[in-house]
Amino acid sequence: MLNINTSSQNIGKPEDRVDGPLKVTGAARYSAEIPTSGVLYGVMVMSTIANGTITSMDTSGAAGEPGVRTILTPFNAPKLPEQTSSRGTRVLSLLQNPTVFYNNQPIGLVIAETLEAAVHAANLVKVQYSEEKPATQMDVERLKAYSPEAANRDQTDSLRGDPDTAYAGASAKIENVYTTPVENHNPMEPHATIAAWDATGTKLTVYDSTQGVFGVQGTLARVFQIAPEDVRCVSYFIGGGFGCKGTAWSHVPLAAMAAKQMQQPVKIVLSRSQMFGMVGYRPETEQKISLGTDSSGKLVSTSHDVLTQTSTFDEFVESSAVATRMLYSCPNVVTSHTLTRLNLGTPTYMRAPGESSGTFALETAIDEMAIKAGLDPLVFRVQNYAETDENAKKPFSSKSLRECYIQGAKRFGWDQRSSVPRSRTTPDGLLIGCGVGTATYPANRGASSATARYMADGSAYILSGTQDIGTGTYTILGQIAADAMGIPVSNMRVEIGDTDFPQTPGSGGSMTAASTGSAVLEAGKAAKQAVIAAAIADASSPLYGLPADGIDIQNARIFSTTDSTKSEPVAVLIARQKLPYIEVKSKSEVSPEAAQYSKNSFGAVFTEVHVDPDLGIVRINRITGVYAIGKLLNAKTGRSQLIGGIIFGIGMALMEQTLIDPRSGRVLNADLAEYHVPVNKDIPVIDVSVVDEVDPYVNPLGIKGIGEIGITGVVGSIGNAIYNATGIRVRSLPITLDKLLS
């Protein structure tokens, strides 16, 4: 399982992002910006009711706007085959029927020659509805809640031991309800698609801002009943996703539908307000947690019941109770998820779906339990450390959480914390509070593939269909390949984001580095073997006839490990073969052996807040996060990723909330002025570090994903710090100042 015959010169180094020069000069082209001939602009018409039927759409005024070419509605749009819902795909709004399921649902598409004409015409379309009362509040619908078949990728419910009895007999216990609101991803780049059919109208190309080019390819093939090979999806640069670009949403097939009808490429770019509803969101949760301990503070009973919501026409489950099943040691645990159906859009994965909302609740409850049991919250966590995954009944492939707690506490200065709320103030009179939270995220991995290619000029290419959504994939795959192929990292070219390239999973579940990184490693090693084989067989090569295991490639030179005079540049070898390149395509699979282990990243997050005692204003003064994530591929981009997750968590803790008017189901703050994400001034110095961790089972590179773990644990840590500062326990997010006005 461990690497052999590859150097580790580049892995781990803080390499600059290779796409840096493009991004800082504004030259990186995102999907809407790829020059395309003859493109028309598509702007969607959106519903203004949440439940009902469109009885008529008057497009005459809109059609009169100069530059408008056509207006597609449910009454005239081309008929498509029936859609089905399945995991990984969504039920989309493709103008096939006049039903309205939620407010701000796509119900029409204007195609025009200029953007301003399309925007205005969409506004001029007059829609008549037959309206029904919408279901918009989880609280109102709770009696109709049902048990879904699965909670995202896990089981809906779980049970071990006898939690009720244990709870009844516990020395100390708590039971509370914790809530999280609807949240929207709001990547800086709105979704954007350019769809173009070829001259025969049978082959489709889309430039799409997506986390999954193959998923988009599959969705379009299904929607239009064409072969996947006839659909090409390209996504070179993506302006953030965080889960909302993980599946193809309605605008993608709509753009293709319009392009087919117009026989010209069609570009649809979502407005910011359209980002609230049709591209997924984190649903509301209401989480009831009860904990009980024995007299020494060891957990004897845990229950975690989640009520959440989905749309009326498709299902997504925010799996908030899943992490609770294994995060601490406890013999008696019961968890459940139930769903209500609301007239809102369908939710979707949003950065650490389940783990982020769930660890807010759990880490807050653990804090309350610790205090009730008379223990320091950190001591309590260590005392209830899970040595194995008690839910899956498997050993952990590696778990260095204890080291995280210890190193984190030291770096942070946890011993300065007072256990008495409102007992420490700054010189200005602000209340000081400290809190801790445990972070966790599964180390996912899927099958993936890549092609590694040595060129005749000394450079090397990696081709793989994965995506870089800001995660640094362009850079880390180059580092992995450079080590595997013995080519200087500056000569590596990584080509990704294209379904013409080898198949990979989407960029989600923090699994890209593990999955596609492993494939790149395999391909790189295999290509190296192929080059060595070519040298051995080439009578003109200094390595002719030598045994393969005595040959290596470093610094773009192939050489004998026993006689350094026998060497030549790889480029010369390849050119001599009259070949432009030597390449190997490899597929890497999840090893069956890895299935024996529970594979997770862990971390400890410490927060210090300063709270204004009169006005309730919370300022994060500092955060220290120490993580155990296996091997860190790139110290620079990895640190940025972890900090980014923490900042996402600060937003979740203190300010993010999608406001929905219960009467109309309308999102009221569908913009960036009133949907608050953190601004620069909100963010203090954030100290992140990783502990040394070698995991021989998780994948050949020994890496675990880090894209999402940053948002877990920190939200609870912040809430716990606020309690420590103020003595006020807030169990509903966001923790805004009005909740702290004593």
């Binding site: 600059d16 800082v24 809407a32 001939s37 100069p66 010209q264 984001g497 620069n680 001034k681």
Partner: protein, 369 residues
């Protein structure tokens, strides 16, 4: 204002200056290290596309699009010749006396001594049409950040097609020049199609309804265009001038991704009308580097990893460059406040502050433009 030249990009002086220069000796370095000269293509008309020097995956996509454009001109026998090609494609085409044999050569600017000879910055793109004798008949040099769109290539080839249809024996240089000037007009938006029978999708879009003729001065270059008064500066930059470095994040002045400089001040271009920018100097991210030399803040952002997905980055850097000349206090907290008009969802804020403070501590305050 020049009423006869309503193009989106009037051929800037550098383009005009190039016409007539013979470049048959100039070398283009091909991907396998072989040196080709323009004279290797003697006897054929060639279109040379010089692309920017920085690694860019989209360049490969554009080459693929150029090839699709060439498919629409089968009678020209045009072929795409990548000076940086990867595969051993042959670039020889059979000659037909009735055909104008066209080679379309793409090359990264810095690889081609063309750019140095012609005074084209390696960060710029250019489109050249070269006659059989190796002289430049038509040249179009794009602003930094803009690249030759398939439209532009189609227009250049269409102009050749026009000329071919006028003469069996060949075209005089004068005729070609006339036709290529006509094709320069084809690059405008507010025009009548040169040939009314054209329904081809590469042809010019319809004339701009409610169009007001304006001149936008962007990064030191004048651009004459006709715009609907509703068009924002941001949309004019992105959709009309192909300067997509400025980003649309919210379109309502709530995120800062669209930040540009107008007369030296940072503003949100999404709330600025294009028609209100006449007589003002607009600067975008594309104008911040000096050829291949990055602005110190651009370098600092790379060094400090001040971005992840990169979508807010143009706006962050435009804000940061302006900040250097604003009365902002020296502390990190002062920089945080001064940069709070640029939202970053990826959370690069701490690194952004470090990148800016690093440059401030070096005492850099001047933008060299």
């Amino acid at each position: 204002m020049n009423k006869t030249n309503l193009g989106d990009s009037v051929a800037p002086p550098i383009g005009d200056r190039l016409v007539g220069r013979n470049i048959s000796d100039i070398a283009i370095v091909s991907h396998d290290g072989a040196v080709k000269r323009i004279s290797d293509f003697a006897g054929r008309t060639a279109v040379v596309i010089l692309s920017s020097t920085v690694w860019d995956p989209v360049a490969r996509e554009l080459n693929a699009q150029y090839e699709r454009v060439l498919e629409r001109f089968p009678e020209m026998g045009a072929s795409l010749v990548e000076a940086r090609r990867k595969y051993g494609d042959s670039d020889d085409r059979g000659d037909n006396e009735d055909e104008l044999d066209v080679s379309v050569i793409t090359s990264p600017s810095h690889e081609a001594s063309l750019s140095k000879t012609l005074g084209i910055s390696p960060a710029q793109s250019a489109l050249l049409v070269i006659d059989e004798a190796g002289s430049i008949w038509w040249a179009h040099v794009f602003s930094a950040g803009a690249s030759a769109k398939p439209d532009d290539l189609g227009d250049a080839l269409h102009s050749l097609q026009e000329m071919k249809s006028r003469s069996h024996k060949g075209i005089t240089r004068r005729q070609f020049l006339a036709a290529s000037l006509a094709s320069a007009f084809i690059l405008t938006l507010s025009l009548e199609p040169v040939d009314k029978a054209q329904a081809d999708v590469e042809k010019a879009p319809a004339s701009v309804p409610r169009g007001m003729p304006i001149i936008l001065n962007v990064n030191g270059e004048d651009h004459a265009l006709a715009v609907d008064p509703r068009v924002t500066l941001l949309d004019a930059l992105r959709e009309r001038l192909s300067l997509t470095g400025s980003k649309k994040g919210c379109d309502h002045g709530q995120c800062g991704a669209c930040t540009v400089h107008i007369d030296g001040r940072r503003v949100n271009s999404c709330l600025t009308l294009a028609v209100a920018c006449q007589g003002k100097k607009v600067q975008t991210i594309e104008g911040m580097a000096n050829g291949e030399t990055l602005h110190p803040l651009q370098r600092s952002f790379i060094e400090h990893d001040g971005f992840q997905c990169g979508y807010c980055t143009s706006g962050q850097i435009m804000s940061a460059i302006a900040l250097l000349k604003e009365p902002v206090g020296p502390a990190d907290d002062d920089v945080r406040e001064a940069m709070s008009g640029n939202i970053c969802r990826c959370g690069a804020y701490p690194n952004i502050v470090d990148a800016i403070q690093s440059v401030r501590k070096q005492g850099v305050s001047n933008v060299s433009l």
